[in-house]
Protein backbone atom coordinates (compact mmCIF):
# COMPACT_ATOMS: atom_id res chain seq x y z
CA UNK A 1 0.00 0.00 0.00
CA UNK A 2 1.42 3.40 -1.02
CA UNK A 3 1.72 6.31 1.40
CA UNK A 4 -1.17 8.40 -0.02
CA UNK A 5 -3.34 5.27 -0.06
CA UNK A 6 -2.49 4.53 3.54
CA UNK A 7 -3.22 8.12 4.59
CA UNK A 8 -6.57 7.93 2.81
CA UNK A 9 -7.36 4.61 4.48
CA UNK A 10 -6.56 5.91 7.95
CA UNK A 11 -8.52 9.12 7.33
CA UNK A 12 -11.54 7.05 6.23
CA UNK A 13 -11.26 4.79 9.25
CA UNK A 14 -10.92 7.84 11.50
CA UNK A 15 -14.05 9.51 10.14
CA UNK A 16 -16.32 6.45 10.32
CA UNK A 17 -15.08 5.76 13.86
CA UNK A 18 -15.43 9.33 15.08
CA UNK A 19 -18.98 9.92 13.79
CA UNK A 20 -20.75 7.28 15.91
CA UNK A 21 -18.75 8.51 18.90
CA UNK A 22 -19.53 12.15 18.28
CA UNK A 23 -23.12 12.36 16.97
CA UNK A 24 -25.05 11.13 20.05
CA UNK A 25 -22.99 12.83 22.71
CA UNK A 26 -22.92 16.08 20.74
CA UNK A 27 -26.64 16.31 20.06
CA UNK A 28 -28.07 14.53 23.09
CA UNK A 29 -26.02 16.53 25.59
CA UNK A 30 -27.60 19.79 24.44
CA UNK A 31 -31.24 19.02 25.06
CA UNK A 32 -33.29 17.35 27.74
CA UNK A 33 -34.31 13.80 26.96
CA UNK A 34 -37.70 12.20 27.60
CA UNK A 35 -38.03 10.24 30.83
CA UNK A 36 -38.55 6.87 29.15
CA UNK A 37 -35.41 7.31 27.04
CA UNK A 38 -33.34 8.16 30.14
CA UNK A 39 -34.66 5.07 31.88
CA UNK A 40 -33.81 2.96 28.86
CA UNK A 41 -30.33 4.50 28.59
CA UNK A 42 -29.82 3.76 32.27
CA UNK A 43 -29.83 0.03 31.40
CA UNK A 44 -27.45 0.36 28.45
CA UNK A 45 -24.14 0.30 30.40
CA UNK A 46 -24.92 -2.92 32.25
CA UNK A 47 -26.14 -4.49 29.01
CA UNK A 48 -23.04 -3.51 27.01
CA UNK A 49 -20.65 -4.58 29.77
CA UNK A 50 -22.32 -7.93 30.15
CA UNK A 51 -22.42 -8.49 26.37
CA UNK A 52 -18.71 -7.67 26.14
CA UNK A 53 -17.82 -9.94 29.06
CA UNK A 54 -19.89 -12.96 28.02
CA UNK A 55 -18.52 -12.93 24.48
CA UNK A 56 -15.00 -12.45 25.83
CA UNK A 57 -15.27 -15.34 28.28
CA UNK A 58 -17.38 -17.95 26.55
CA UNK A 59 -16.50 -17.73 22.88
CA UNK A 60 -13.40 -18.85 21.07
CA UNK A 61 -12.32 -17.46 17.74
CA UNK A 62 -11.62 -13.93 16.62
CA UNK A 63 -13.78 -11.08 15.42
CA UNK A 64 -13.01 -11.80 11.80
CA UNK A 65 -12.99 -15.59 11.87
CA UNK A 66 -15.73 -18.01 12.81
CA UNK A 67 -16.63 -18.29 16.46
CA UNK A 68 -17.65 -21.25 18.58
CA UNK A 69 -19.13 -21.67 22.03
CA UNK A 70 -16.54 -22.73 24.60
CA UNK A 71 -17.99 -22.26 28.07
CA UNK A 72 -15.07 -23.81 29.95
CA UNK A 73 -11.69 -22.26 29.23
CA UNK A 74 -8.91 -20.49 31.10
CA UNK A 75 -10.60 -17.10 30.79
CA UNK A 76 -13.97 -18.24 32.12
CA UNK A 77 -12.34 -20.30 34.88
CA UNK A 78 -10.28 -17.31 36.01
CA UNK A 79 -13.48 -15.26 36.01
CA UNK A 80 -14.92 -17.23 38.96
CA UNK A 81 -12.47 -16.12 41.68
CA UNK A 82 -12.12 -12.72 39.99
CA UNK A 83 -15.88 -12.13 40.11
CA UNK A 84 -16.11 -13.35 43.72
CA UNK A 85 -13.32 -10.97 44.71
CA UNK A 86 -15.02 -8.09 42.89
CA UNK A 87 -18.38 -8.81 44.55
CA UNK A 88 -16.78 -9.03 47.97
CA UNK A 89 -14.36 -6.09 47.88
CA UNK A 90 -15.64 -3.81 45.07
CA UNK A 91 -11.99 -2.93 44.57
CA UNK A 92 -11.08 -2.33 40.93
CA UNK A 93 -7.32 -2.43 41.41
CA UNK A 94 -7.50 -5.54 43.58
CA UNK A 95 -9.76 -7.29 41.10
CA UNK A 96 -7.39 -6.58 38.22
CA UNK A 97 -4.45 -8.00 40.23
CA UNK A 98 -6.40 -11.06 41.41
CA UNK A 99 -7.65 -11.72 37.87
CA UNK A 100 -4.17 -11.46 36.39
CA UNK A 101 -2.63 -13.72 39.03
CA UNK A 102 -5.37 -16.33 38.71
CA UNK A 103 -5.09 -16.35 34.94
CA UNK A 104 -1.32 -16.55 35.15
CA UNK A 105 -1.50 -19.50 37.59
CA UNK A 106 -4.06 -21.31 35.43
CA UNK A 107 -1.84 -20.81 32.39
CA UNK A 108 1.08 -22.36 34.31
CA UNK A 109 -1.07 -25.29 35.46
CA UNK A 110 -2.70 -26.19 32.15
Amino acid sequence: MTHPDYALLVAGMGIVTYLPRWLPVFFLSRKSLPEWFMEWLDLIPVAILSALIFSDLFLSGSNSGSRSLQPVNLKSLAAVPTLCFALKTKSLGGTVIVGMLTYWLLEKLF
Partner: protein, 257 residues
Protein backbone atom coordinates in the same frame (compact mmCIF):
# COMPACT_ATOMS: atom_id res chain seq x y z
CA UNK B 1 3.32 55.57 42.96
CA UNK B 2 1.22 53.45 40.76
CA UNK B 3 2.91 50.01 40.86
CA UNK B 4 1.35 49.23 44.27
CA UNK B 5 -2.19 48.30 43.13
CA UNK B 6 -0.67 46.49 40.20
CA UNK B 7 1.35 44.14 42.40
CA UNK B 8 -1.63 43.58 44.67
CA UNK B 9 -3.74 42.65 41.71
CA UNK B 10 -1.16 40.24 40.40
CA UNK B 11 -0.81 38.63 43.82
CA UNK B 12 -4.55 38.06 43.84
CA UNK B 13 -4.31 36.67 40.35
CA UNK B 14 -1.57 34.34 41.49
CA UNK B 15 -3.73 33.04 44.33
CA UNK B 16 -6.55 32.32 41.90
CA UNK B 17 -4.05 30.76 39.54
CA UNK B 18 -2.63 28.45 42.16
CA UNK B 19 -6.10 27.43 43.29
CA UNK B 20 -7.02 26.64 39.74
CA UNK B 21 -3.68 24.93 39.30
CA UNK B 22 -4.36 22.72 42.28
CA UNK B 23 -7.78 21.88 40.93
CA UNK B 24 -6.26 20.99 37.57
CA UNK B 25 -3.67 18.79 39.25
CA UNK B 26 -6.39 17.03 41.26
CA UNK B 27 -8.36 16.44 38.07
CA UNK B 28 -5.29 15.01 36.33
CA UNK B 29 -4.37 12.85 39.32
CA UNK B 30 -7.88 11.39 39.71
CA UNK B 31 -8.14 10.76 35.98
CA UNK B 32 -4.80 8.96 35.81
CA UNK B 33 -5.69 6.92 38.91
CA UNK B 34 -8.93 5.80 37.28
CA UNK B 35 -7.23 5.05 33.98
CA UNK B 36 -4.42 2.79 35.16
CA UNK B 37 -6.21 -0.55 34.72
CA UNK B 38 -7.06 0.50 31.16
CA UNK B 39 -3.44 1.44 30.48
CA UNK B 40 -2.20 -1.84 31.93
CA UNK B 41 -4.56 -3.69 29.64
CA UNK B 42 -3.76 -1.59 26.57
CA UNK B 43 -0.02 -2.11 26.73
CA UNK B 44 0.16 -5.79 25.70
CA UNK B 45 -2.59 -5.32 23.10
CA UNK B 46 -0.92 -2.24 21.65
CA UNK B 47 2.46 -3.97 21.51
CA UNK B 48 0.89 -6.98 19.78
CA UNK B 49 -0.79 -4.71 17.23
CA UNK B 50 2.51 -2.95 16.57
CA UNK B 51 4.23 -6.28 15.93
CA UNK B 52 1.48 -7.43 13.56
CA UNK B 53 1.53 -4.11 11.72
CA UNK B 54 5.28 -4.34 11.25
CA UNK B 55 4.80 -7.81 9.74
CA UNK B 56 2.11 -6.42 7.44
CA UNK B 57 4.53 -3.80 6.15
CA UNK B 58 3.12 -0.89 8.17
CA UNK B 59 5.90 1.10 9.83
CA UNK B 60 5.77 2.13 13.52
CA UNK B 61 5.03 5.80 12.73
CA UNK B 62 2.29 4.68 10.34
CA UNK B 63 0.58 2.47 12.91
CA UNK B 64 0.96 5.27 15.47
CA UNK B 65 -0.79 7.58 13.01
CA UNK B 66 -3.64 5.06 12.72
CA UNK B 67 -3.86 4.69 16.52
CA UNK B 68 -4.06 8.45 16.88
CA UNK B 69 -6.78 8.94 14.27
CA UNK B 70 -8.84 5.82 14.88
CA UNK B 71 -8.15 4.79 18.50
CA UNK B 72 -10.14 1.55 18.39
CA UNK B 73 -8.33 -1.67 19.21
CA UNK B 74 -10.36 -4.41 17.60
CA UNK B 75 -11.03 -2.40 14.42
CA UNK B 76 -7.31 -1.72 14.05
CA UNK B 77 -6.46 -5.42 14.40
CA UNK B 78 -8.98 -6.26 11.71
CA UNK B 79 -7.71 -3.45 9.48
CA UNK B 80 -4.10 -4.62 9.77
CA UNK B 81 -5.04 -8.18 8.94
CA UNK B 82 -7.11 -7.00 5.97
CA UNK B 83 -4.25 -4.81 4.72
CA UNK B 84 -1.78 -7.68 4.98
CA UNK B 85 -4.30 -9.76 3.02
CA UNK B 86 -4.12 -7.18 0.23
CA UNK B 87 -7.53 -5.57 0.76
CA UNK B 88 -8.37 -2.27 -0.90
CA UNK B 89 -9.38 0.84 1.05
CA UNK B 90 -13.17 0.73 0.94
CA UNK B 91 -13.72 -2.72 2.51
CA UNK B 92 -11.43 -1.78 5.40
CA UNK B 93 -13.31 1.47 6.01
CA UNK B 94 -16.72 -0.23 5.83
CA UNK B 95 -15.61 -2.97 8.22
CA UNK B 96 -14.22 -0.37 10.61
CA UNK B 97 -17.54 1.42 10.54
CA UNK B 98 -19.45 -1.76 11.37
CA UNK B 99 -17.07 -2.73 14.16
CA UNK B 100 -17.17 0.70 15.79
CA UNK B 101 -20.87 1.40 15.42
CA UNK B 102 -21.34 0.11 18.98
CA UNK B 103 -19.93 3.42 20.24
CA UNK B 104 -23.27 5.01 19.25
CA UNK B 105 -24.83 3.47 22.33
CA UNK B 106 -21.98 4.37 24.65
CA UNK B 107 -21.96 7.94 23.36
CA UNK B 108 -25.73 8.23 23.92
CA UNK B 109 -25.40 6.94 27.44
CA UNK B 110 -22.53 9.32 28.28
CA UNK B 111 -24.45 12.33 26.95
CA UNK B 112 -26.55 12.31 30.11
CA UNK B 113 -23.46 12.85 32.29
CA UNK B 114 -21.82 15.46 30.09
CA UNK B 115 -24.74 17.85 29.95
CA UNK B 116 -23.52 20.25 32.66
CA UNK B 117 -20.33 20.98 30.71
CA UNK B 118 -21.66 20.66 27.23
CA UNK B 119 -19.35 23.10 25.50
CA UNK B 120 -19.36 21.95 21.86
CA UNK B 121 -15.56 21.82 21.65
CA UNK B 122 -15.22 19.92 24.92
CA UNK B 123 -17.87 17.42 23.89
CA UNK B 124 -16.22 16.95 20.49
CA UNK B 125 -12.84 16.30 22.09
CA UNK B 126 -14.43 13.98 24.63
CA UNK B 127 -16.20 11.99 21.91
CA UNK B 128 -12.86 11.15 20.31
CA UNK B 129 -11.85 9.15 23.38
CA UNK B 130 -14.97 7.02 23.85
CA UNK B 131 -13.93 3.38 23.91
CA UNK B 132 -15.40 0.25 25.55
CA UNK B 133 -12.89 0.68 28.36
CA UNK B 134 -13.14 4.42 29.01
CA UNK B 135 -16.91 4.18 28.76
CA UNK B 136 -16.99 1.45 31.41
CA UNK B 137 -14.65 3.23 33.80
CA UNK B 138 -16.24 6.67 33.43
CA UNK B 139 -19.80 5.33 33.73
CA UNK B 140 -18.94 3.59 36.99
CA UNK B 141 -17.44 6.81 38.38
CA UNK B 142 -20.29 9.03 37.20
CA UNK B 143 -22.78 6.68 38.84
CA UNK B 144 -21.13 6.83 42.25
CA UNK B 145 -21.13 10.62 42.06
CA UNK B 146 -17.38 11.15 42.37
CA UNK B 147 -16.85 12.20 38.77
CA UNK B 148 -17.05 15.16 36.43
CA UNK B 149 -16.51 15.60 32.68
CA UNK B 150 -12.98 16.95 33.19
CA UNK B 151 -11.81 13.83 35.00
CA UNK B 152 -13.57 11.66 32.44
CA UNK B 153 -11.70 13.47 29.66
CA UNK B 154 -8.40 12.74 31.40
CA UNK B 155 -9.27 9.04 31.49
CA UNK B 156 -9.97 9.14 27.74
CA UNK B 157 -6.82 11.00 26.80
CA UNK B 158 -4.41 9.12 29.06
CA UNK B 159 -5.72 5.82 27.71
CA UNK B 160 -5.37 7.16 24.20
CA UNK B 161 -1.78 8.25 24.84
CA UNK B 162 -0.79 4.86 26.21
CA UNK B 163 -2.50 3.15 23.29
CA UNK B 164 -0.69 5.23 20.66
CA UNK B 165 2.70 4.79 22.34
CA UNK B 166 2.21 1.04 22.86
CA UNK B 167 1.40 0.42 19.21
CA UNK B 168 4.47 2.41 18.12
CA UNK B 169 6.69 0.62 20.66
CA UNK B 170 5.34 -2.72 19.42
CA UNK B 171 6.41 -1.85 15.91
CA UNK B 172 9.95 -1.06 17.03
CA UNK B 173 10.62 -3.96 19.36
CA UNK B 174 7.48 -5.67 20.57
CA UNK B 175 8.74 -9.08 19.52
CA UNK B 176 11.45 -8.90 22.20
CA UNK B 177 8.86 -8.82 24.97
CA UNK B 178 7.72 -12.25 26.18
CA UNK B 179 4.04 -12.83 25.55
CA UNK B 180 1.47 -13.05 28.30
CA UNK B 181 3.81 -12.37 31.20
CA UNK B 182 2.15 -12.24 34.63
CA UNK B 183 -1.32 -12.72 33.22
CA UNK B 184 -1.34 -9.20 31.80
CA UNK B 185 -3.57 -10.47 28.97
CA UNK B 186 -6.32 -10.82 31.55
CA UNK B 187 -6.13 -7.24 32.88
CA UNK B 188 -9.02 -5.90 30.79
CA UNK B 189 -11.23 -8.95 31.33
CA UNK B 190 -10.80 -8.57 35.09
CA UNK B 191 -11.42 -4.83 34.90
CA UNK B 192 -14.68 -5.36 33.01
CA UNK B 193 -15.82 -7.96 35.55
CA UNK B 194 -15.38 -5.52 38.41
CA UNK B 195 -17.03 -2.69 36.48
CA UNK B 196 -19.98 -4.99 35.80
CA UNK B 197 -20.27 -5.60 39.53
CA UNK B 198 -20.46 -1.80 40.04
CA UNK B 199 -23.37 -1.70 37.60
CA UNK B 200 -25.42 -4.33 39.46
CA UNK B 201 -27.36 -1.85 41.55
CA UNK B 202 -30.56 -3.85 41.81
CA UNK B 203 -32.41 -6.89 40.56
CA UNK B 204 -33.41 -5.29 37.28
CA UNK B 205 -29.75 -4.61 36.42
CA UNK B 206 -28.78 -8.20 37.18
CA UNK B 207 -31.63 -9.50 35.02
CA UNK B 208 -30.64 -7.16 32.18
CA UNK B 209 -27.02 -8.32 32.49
CA UNK B 210 -27.96 -11.99 32.21
CA UNK B 211 -30.22 -11.34 29.22
CA UNK B 212 -27.54 -9.24 27.49
CA UNK B 213 -24.84 -11.83 28.13
CA UNK B 214 -26.94 -14.73 26.88
CA UNK B 215 -28.10 -12.83 23.80
CA UNK B 216 -24.59 -11.64 22.93
CA UNK B 217 -23.26 -15.20 22.89
CA UNK B 218 -26.21 -16.43 20.82
CA UNK B 219 -26.01 -13.60 18.28
CA UNK B 220 -22.22 -13.81 18.10
CA UNK B 221 -22.53 -17.40 16.93
CA UNK B 222 -24.98 -16.44 14.18
CA UNK B 223 -23.81 -13.02 12.98
CA UNK B 224 -20.41 -12.15 11.55
CA UNK B 225 -18.48 -9.13 12.87
CA UNK B 226 -19.57 -7.61 16.16
CA UNK B 227 -23.07 -6.40 15.37
CA UNK B 228 -24.07 -8.87 18.10
CA UNK B 229 -22.90 -6.38 20.74
CA UNK B 230 -25.30 -3.68 19.56
CA UNK B 231 -28.23 -6.03 19.02
CA UNK B 232 -27.80 -7.83 22.33
CA UNK B 233 -27.41 -4.58 24.28
CA UNK B 234 -30.45 -2.92 22.72
CA UNK B 235 -32.65 -6.00 23.13
CA UNK B 236 -31.55 -6.55 26.73
CA UNK B 237 -32.01 -2.91 27.74
CA UNK B 238 -35.44 -2.92 26.12
CA UNK B 239 -36.40 -6.14 27.89
CA UNK B 240 -35.13 -4.73 31.18
CA UNK B 241 -37.06 -1.52 30.61
CA UNK B 242 -40.27 -3.42 29.81
CA UNK B 243 -39.86 -5.61 32.89
CA UNK B 244 -39.29 -2.62 35.11
CA UNK B 245 -42.36 -0.84 33.70
CA UNK B 246 -44.43 -3.95 34.28
CA UNK B 247 -43.29 -4.44 37.87
CA UNK B 248 -43.71 -0.75 38.54
CA UNK B 249 -47.24 -0.71 37.15
CA UNK B 250 -48.15 -3.81 39.14
CA UNK B 251 -46.85 -2.17 42.30
CA UNK B 252 -49.05 0.86 41.62
CA UNK B 253 -52.17 -1.20 40.95
CA UNK B 254 -51.52 -3.14 44.17
CA UNK B 255 -51.32 0.13 46.06
CA UNK B 256 -54.63 1.40 44.71
CA UNK B 257 -56.61 -1.84 45.09
Amino acid sequence: MTPQPDTKLSAGDLAVDSREGRRTIATLRDGVKAAWPICLGYMPIGLALGVLAQKAGISPPEIGFMSLLVFAGSAQFIAVSMISGGSSILPVVVTTFMVNLRHLLMSSSLAVHLRPAAHPLFVSLFAYGITDESFAVNTARFKDGSWDPGRALVVNQVSNGVWVLSTIAGGYGGHFIPEGSLGIDYALSAMFLCLLVYQLRGAIYAVTAVIAGGLSVLWALVLPGNAYLIIASILAATAGYALRQRIFRKAISHDTS
